[in-house]
């Protein structure tokens, strides 16, 4: 049983890591076919994993409705709207133009999505107002860079001579340098994690200690 619980998943992970690495270095039609097949498989597995998420959402909201915890009405809203959207989707057979799902996307999903993200603008700005104090060289640099980048993106700032060029230089030179160094770090971290998976050292994805 322990083999099924521990050895088999480790072997599956090992097989796919090694096979996909080999595939990259051996560009044979067979390996290309293997890559295409695995990519298709991954998309399907991810789709089914969405059902796991939906199931979990249902479990959590149904529990709230059953126990009638404070605010259970909101759970009812979530589940009803989810059901209505899915019905609208089946009625439209996907997202056919002019169908109810496209209408829902245009008049409900899209405005709410944009509003939700634009709300963050207020909170970032208010947090910055409280946190951005030019107390040190580092803080001043951060503040000045943010101001230049923001100014360059509005007509008033772009009209100030030099702001556009300075912003372009910041984005093209120092930003590239810092981003590149961070990319090195992230890449080396990812490779190290992948190697840990290959050698079976990284087992946190198995979930348990068994």
């Amino acid at each position: 049983m322990l083999h099924l619980k521990r050895t088999v998943p480790l072997a599956i992970a090992f097989f796919f890591v090694v096979a996909l690495i080999l595939q990259y270095f051996v560009p044979h039609p067979l390996s290309e076919k293997f890559l295409g097949m695995t990519q298709k498989w991954a998309i399907i597995v991810v789709y089914v994993s969405l059902l796991l998420g939906v199931g979990s959402l249902f479990q959590s909201h149904l529990r709230k409705i059953r126990v009638q915890t404070p605010g259970w009405g909101y759970s009812l809203v979530t589940l009803s709207v989810f059901g209505l959207t899915v019905l609208a989707g089946f009625h439209s057979r996907g997202n056919s133009p002019g169908g109810p799902l496209q209408w829902t996307y245009e008049f409900a999903y899209s405005p709410m999505s944009a509003t939700m993200f634009s709300l963050l603008g207020f909170f970032i700005a208010s947090a910055a107002f409280r946190a951005f104090r030019a107390r040190s060289v580092e803080a001043t640099l951060l503040l000045a860079t943010a101001v230049v980048i923001m100014l360059a993106q509005v007509p008033l700032g772009a009209a100030i001579p030099g702001v556009g060029s300075l912003s372009a230089w910041i984005l093209g030179v120092p930003l590239t340098a810092a981003k590149r160094a961070l990319m090195f770090g992230v890449a080396l971290g990812s490779i190290a994690t992948a190697l840990r998976i290959i050698f079976g050292i990284e087992r946190s994805y198995l979930g348990g200690t068994e």
Binding site: V8, P9, L10, A13, F16, V17, L20, A42, I43, I44, V46, V48, S49, L50, L52, V54, G71, V77, T78, V81, F82, T85, G89, N95, T104, A108, Y109, P111, M112, A114, T115, M116, F117, S118, L119, G121, L141, T145, V147, I149, M150, Q153, I170, L171, P174, L175, A177, A178, K179, R180, A181, M183, F184, V186, A187, L188, S190, A194, I197, I198
Partner: protein, 288 residues
């Protein structure tokens, strides 16, 4: 239908914006509607684009190996065993596939794009030596001739002159050490120093004190520029979304949409004020 859509869009937008006042029932309703619609929308998208296109159509097709497609379905189905505690361990096989697939793709891809290509772009000669070959000199001469011709041309189009000048300056910066060459070298040096110092800042094997501290300090300065620029870009991105919402609210406040924005706004303010009064009364009652 468009008028109904306008009222719904305005209502939902204002529900979400009401959070700027405080957490309130309108926002909570909006938030839960958002979750429900988003998940429902993506379930439908994936149903048609993944399940129908990639599984159902293949299974009902004529290909002799069509049943192979059931393997990922089976692997995916193993994830659902998470809901049955006794056999939940079977989901590990599916997770192992996802992790193995991700890691297998990540190693060669990140090695190429994030390490090799980035290192190549960084490890360049810090000083450019002019190319003294006859070919480079000839190219510069030709570019200069073209530039002179553009200047003296009858049409005297600014754009053409600028393009010819640009080509001449580029060509000259290869065959001679010009201001442009010096600028390029300066850029290369700044990037090299930046990458080195930021990497050094994250290098914890030696203590950052004494002369080596200078490197990590310079690294911090580069990181601050990065964070500042990221912050600026994020704020401007959010603000552009805000412009869009404000413009929609303005559009929908017109008569042809039944004054949706002002009507809903007034109703919401009235309800929020009533709730405030009610809650205040309750609080006072509790205090007494």
């Amino acid at each position: 239908m468009e008028i109904v859509g306008a009222w719904i869009a305005v209502g939902l937008t204002l529900f979400m914006f009401s959070f700027l006042y405080k957490d309130n029932p309108f926002y909570k309703v909006g938030e839960n509607l958002y979750v429900g619609i988003t998940i429902g929308y993506f379930v439908i998208q994936l149903w048609y684009k993944t399940w129908i296109d990639k599984v159902w159509d293949v299974l009902t097709g004529q290909a002799h190996d069509r049943f192979v497609i059931l393997i990922p379905v089976l692997i995916g189905a193993l994830l659902l065993t998470r809901f049955v505690p006794k056999i939940a361990w079977m989901s590990r096989w599916a997770f192992a596939f996802v992790i193995g697939y991700g890691a297998g793709l990540a190693i060669p891809a990140t090695l190429t794009t994030s390490v090799v290509i980035q290192a190549q772009a960084t490890a360049k000669p810090l000083v450019t030596m002019p190319d003294r070959s006859p070919g480079a000199a000839k190219a510069t001469e030709n570019a200069k001739a073209a530039y002179d011709k553009a200047k003296e041309g009858a049409a005297k189009e600014d754009e053409k002159i600028r393009a010819a000048r640009y080509r001449y300056e580029q060509s000259r910066s290869v065959s001679e050490y010009t201001f442009l060459t010096a600028y390029r070298d300066f850029t290369t040096i700044v990037i090299f120093v930046g990458v080195f110092c930021v990497l050094f800042y994250f290098f914890f094997s030696i203590e950052h004190r004494g002369p080596v501290r200078a490197f990590s300090r310079v690294g911090i300065l580069f990181l601050m520029i990065y964070f500042g620029a990221s912050y600026g870009n994020t704020v401007m991105g959010r603000l552009s979304l805000l412009y869009g919402r404000v413009l929609d609210l303005k559009d929908y406040s017109r008569q042809m949409y039944g004054f949706a924005t002002p009507v809903i706004l007034v109703l919401m303010i009235a309800v929020l004020a009533a709730l405030h009064v009610k809650n205040k009364g309750k609080d006072e009652g509790h205090a007494a």
